[in-house]
């Protein structure tokens, strides 16, 4: 999907739909199957870690209070949507969308913050890929023993990068706001998929019984 406005809207709408009900989650999953590059999105090492975390929490919830299956389905779909959003993201899109949405005065700063956050996520992914190489080279298996120094260095790297970024913005005279003229291109199919997402969001708030009444 080329138009980031539609893509971001779709991801937010479907995430809400998946969060509020299992019906919404199932419909959002069907959307994910039909309208996204699907398995290209999930080919990321971090995806497995997040999925394992969801499974653990779902199991604990199911055993302790019940409702673990619902939690598992909803959160897994939200994870798939997040991976889709992350895979399809191109640098500058958040800035373009927030400036388009809120104007130059109010849209620029949230856009810059979102862009820097996305850049940090990319840096973290890159850091972990390199750290895995280093651990493998020393014959150290990822675990508690290596966790503290590795996590410490990851945090330190992020702090150093943030400081460099702050210095750069200061040197370039940034105080607040800025000029940016976003341009977007969208295809009719993208608009159609956006409408489907609105429909799924609407259906997610209806009880399952009402959906079948609507279908009749």
């Amino acid at each position: 999907m080329q138009d980031p406005r539609i893509r971001i809207f779709v991801v937010i709408a479907l995430s809400i739909a998946a969060f509020v009900s299992v019906t919404g989650a199932v419909l959002a999953f069907l959307y994910w199957l039909v309208f996204t590059p699907r398995f290209r999105c999930i080919q990321r090492p971090a995806a497995v870690s997040f999925f394992i975390m969801i499974v653990i929490v779902a199991l604990v919830t199911q055993i302790s209070t019940g409702g673990g299956l619902s939690y598992f389905i909803r959160l897994t779909v939200i994870l798939l949507l997040a991976l889709y959003a992350y895979t399809e993201y191109h640098s500058g899109e958040f800035l373009a969308v927030t400036v388009w949405l809120f104007g130059r005065n109010y849209g620029f700063d949230p856009g810059i913050i979102a862009e820097m956050s996305m850049q940090s996520l990319g840096d973290l992914e890159n850091d972990f890929a390199h750290i895995r190489v280093a651990l493998s080279q020393k014959g150290i298996r990822p675990g508690v023993r290596a966790f503290i120094p590795v996590a410490g260095m990851v945090v330190l790297n992020q702090v150093r990068r943030a400081r460099d970024q702050a210095d750069l913005l200061t040197v370039r005279g940034y105080t607040k706001g800025g000029r940016f003229c976003p341009r977007f291109t969208s295809k009719p199919m993208e608009l159609f998929s956006g409408i489907i997402a609105i429909l799924i969001l609407f259906l997610a708030f209806l009880p399952v019984r009402d959906i079948f009444i609507l279908l009749q």
Partner: protein, 232 residues
């Protein structure tokens, strides 16, 4: 002992790299612009990424050590002592080599990037291995430190050393020159003949070869010797 690239192809998004050739015993300089694929080549050489096409054959190479550009990636210890120990090395001798002998119990996060790079290089250059791949070994180091590291690389007389760098002034003496141009690894051959074929050579070398004077190697000492030759 050799590292052989046979019709190797690697791609990621719009980036692609092709490599063909054999790396034999000695020191190999792989030069190229920023973003040309030197780090990717280093990862391919050390086996941490697999080629999409072709294969990389490691003939009689039992142990490979890769030094990545940013030394932070290698840190797995809390103190300097822990870090040296994680490489399986003797603590006093390695810390002395890094000129950090009195700081063994210090928190490794207290080191500057230059000091950390110094410690990291002292470790990787002390490890016994058949293949040593150094990705940008001179980054974060001052000129004096680059000279010291170059001397240590020169002193290494065994195995294959591959130096992937865009540094073109403070270099050790090398045996072979390779370049990454237009997404392809190109062999310039054996030094000193390779020096005149090195397209990305520093200006001083290009000026010398333009006047028909070929330096015996790429180190500052060899270039100085060639410059002195012009005055004769």
């Amino acid at each position: 002992m050799q590292l052989v690239f046979s019709n190797v192809g690697y791609s990621r998004g719009t980036f692609s790299l092709q490599a063909d050739g054999a790396f034999t015993r000695g020191t190999h300089l792989v030069s190229g612009n920023v973003g040309s694929g030197k780090s990717t080549f280093a990862l391919l050489s050390s086996g941490y990424i697999k080629p999409v096409t072709g294969n990389v054959n490691r003939d009689r190479i039992r142990r490979t050590v890769l030094s990545m550009q940013f030394p932070e990636y290698h840190v797995t210890g809390i103190t300097l002592d822990d870090e040296v120990r994680s490489w399986g090395l003797g603590i006093p001798v390695t810390l002395d080599a890094a000129r950090l002998g009195d700081r063994g119990s210090d928190d490794i996060a207290s080191l500057s990037r230059g000091e950390l790079k110094r410690l990291h290089l002292a470790c990787v250059l002390s490890v016994d291995c058949e293949l040593l791949v150094l990705d940008e070994p001179f980054s974060a180091l001052d000129c004096n430190e680059k000279k010291i590291i170059s001397e240590k690389i020169n002193a290494r007389k065994h195995g294959i050393v591959i130096i992937c760098t865009h540094e073109n002034l403070w270099l050790p003496d090398v045996d072979y020159i390779w370049e990454i141009r237009g997404g392809r690894l190109v062999s310039r051959g054996l030094v000193p003949e390779a020096v005149s074929r090195w397209e990305m050579a520093p200006k001083v070398i290009r000026d010398l070869t333009g006047r028909g004077i070929v330096p015996g190697n790429v180190s500052p000492r060899a270039i100085m010797e060639a410059l002195c030759r012009t005055r004769e």
